[in-house]
Amino acid sequence: MTAEALRPAIGAAANHTFLNAVLRASDTEPGLEACIQCGTCGGSCPSAVSMDHTPRALFALVLAGMRDEALRSNTPWMCLSCYFCTVRCPKGIRIPDVMYGIKSIAVRERLSPERTGADFSSAFVDNIHRFGRSYEMGLVARHYLRHHPLRLPGLTGMGLSMVAHGRMGFRPQRIKRVDGLRAILDRAAQLEEAPNEGTQPETGHVA
């Protein structure tokens, strides 16, 4: 779907505060305003069974301006970004991008129902800020101790195998210009907090 084809729908959405916030948070033009509520997304979704609302129902909440319900839904947190819905959506809506937008608002406003998902993302992103690279060992150690301690005994064998075969290193890799990377990310954070009419005040970014 071209951006041009969406213009009329965007026009209709111009005064829709929450929809606008979601579209803006997605930072792309995901096209959610064109949703026709057909339900193809939920019918295609491999993790719909774990969601409290199907994607279609979540989009209905957004389109109805039901901000709190939408932001407190676990649906975007169960999204796998597998794009089954996206390639099937008759309106060409880029659904994972919408999910990222909703999640980012929910995290900012601390409404996310899914601490595990938000914490995993934060831990992952922390490592990027520190090293410029992902650091698998540090990430899983921190995450499992905090969120899945009971799974650890069952995963010991697998973990040892990974370490023994050099698939899990104890030392993080660090890029050379990590300061430059941080400068880029800080500038992006400033741009993000720039004009933001119609949403609740920002409470700083989680990272």
């Binding site: 169960m78 796998l80 597998c82 990222y100 799974r151 698939r167 880029i184 500038r187 992006a188 954070a189």
Partner: protein, 331 residues
């Protein structure tokens, strides 16, 4: 020699080092020269986009900007990891689609003196380069040890043929490009309708029940088709199917043992390379039984000495997709 810019991605230096090793072993015969982008950073997977799409795209775009700076004649950026590939391809695509997006990301990149221009690079998954640019004839010409008799499930995963915003794949859901590559290696490619179903991605870390169910579907389907091994093009898929298969087995009280190898490892084997040089032996689920079918001996870890895949009635009822149950006579 064709030259390519190369973005390895974090997992190729860690959990998927077998992918990196096997890739290194096949590039020379294929006439590919890879130039790793100097000082590349993590693409952020889906985690950075989750916290902030704008910062997430800026993170991805730093790699595109570095690659553009270092391109030196090469114009194609190759990523072997499907998640990295989809991120790089999407950010490039959004640069091309939306001047506002490009302006915003470039003003972030300017903080470290970088800039990107949509379309400056062709972003490709490694598999696309091998199939589309090297070509299956050239691949077949290097086969000295055909994988005859090895039953392989062609597991492409989600993020190569989807979202495929530029429409280069034959289909989003049942593309057969990987099947054809494996057939060119002489393998016996089994019917694997879940070829682009999701492995669970990061759900092993967030909501394991969801991940176990998705892993079960894939492993059960491969086992049902009597695949000896699954072939993958993605470190995340490899990790979930290989490292978490045991946990999934315990959850469902099942005893699957379906190994999964990177397609580059299978290519290396078909080209006659020694298994150790391809990172074979680093798996959690040993491919020893599978590789014995093509006359290769690799030592299986003590715990799982050549135990054939077995079906056991699951104690817990899985939810979701219907999946054919094994026939009584096959048990």
């Amino acid at each position: 020699m064709s030259e390519y810019l190369y973005y390895p991605g974090c997992s190729l230096e860690g959990s998927a080092r077998a992918y990196a090793e096997s890739l290194a072993a096949i590039v020379a015969p294929l006439g590919i020269e890879l130039h790793e982008i100097d000082d590349w950073n993590c693409c952020g997977a889906t985690e950075y986009l989750t916290l902030s799409p704008l910062r997430g795209h800026a993170l991805i775009a730093r790699n595109l900007a570095l690659a553009r700076e270092q391109r030196n004649g090469a114009s194609t950026l190759v990523a072997p990891c499907s998640a990295c590939y989809v991120n790089l391809a999407k950010t490039d695509r959004y640069f091309r689609e939306s001047p506002e997006f490009g302006q915003q990301i470039n003003s972030a990149l300017a903080a470290d003196g970088l800039a990107y221009e949509g379309g400056a690079l062709r972003v490709r998954h490694l598999l696309e380069v091998i199939i589309g640019e090297v070509g299956l004839d050239a691949v077949a010409a290097h086969v000295t040890r055909p994988l005859r008799g090895l039953r392989v499930a062609p597991y492409l995963g989600c993020l190569v043929s989807r979202p495929d915003l530029d429409g280069r794949w034959s289909a989003h859901e049942q593309p057969h490009e990987l099947d054809r590559l494996l057939a060119a290696l002489g393998a016996d490619v089994v019917d694997f309708p879940l070829r682009t179903s999701c492995c669970g991605g990061h759900m092993t870390q967030i909501n394991p029940e969801t991940a176990w169910e998705l892993i079960r579907r894939l492993v059960e389907s491969a086992d049902h088709a009597h695949a000896d091994v699954m072939a993958t093009v993605c470190p995340m898929c490899q990790m979930n199917i290989d490292a978490y298969q045991g946990e999934m087995d315990r959850h469902y009280r099942a005893r699957y043992r379906v190994p999964i190898l990177f397609f580059t490892q299978l290519m290396g084997l078909a080209f006659g390379a020694a298994p150790e040089s391809l990172g074979i032996g680093t798996e959690v689920v040993s491919p020893a039984v599978a590789l014995a079918r093509i006359g290769l001996e690799v030592s299986p870890p003590a715990a799982e000495q050549s135990e054939p895949p077995t079906h056991e009635r699951r104690q817990k009822r899985p939810q979701g997709l219907p999946m054919p149950a094994p026939l009584e006579s096959e048990r």
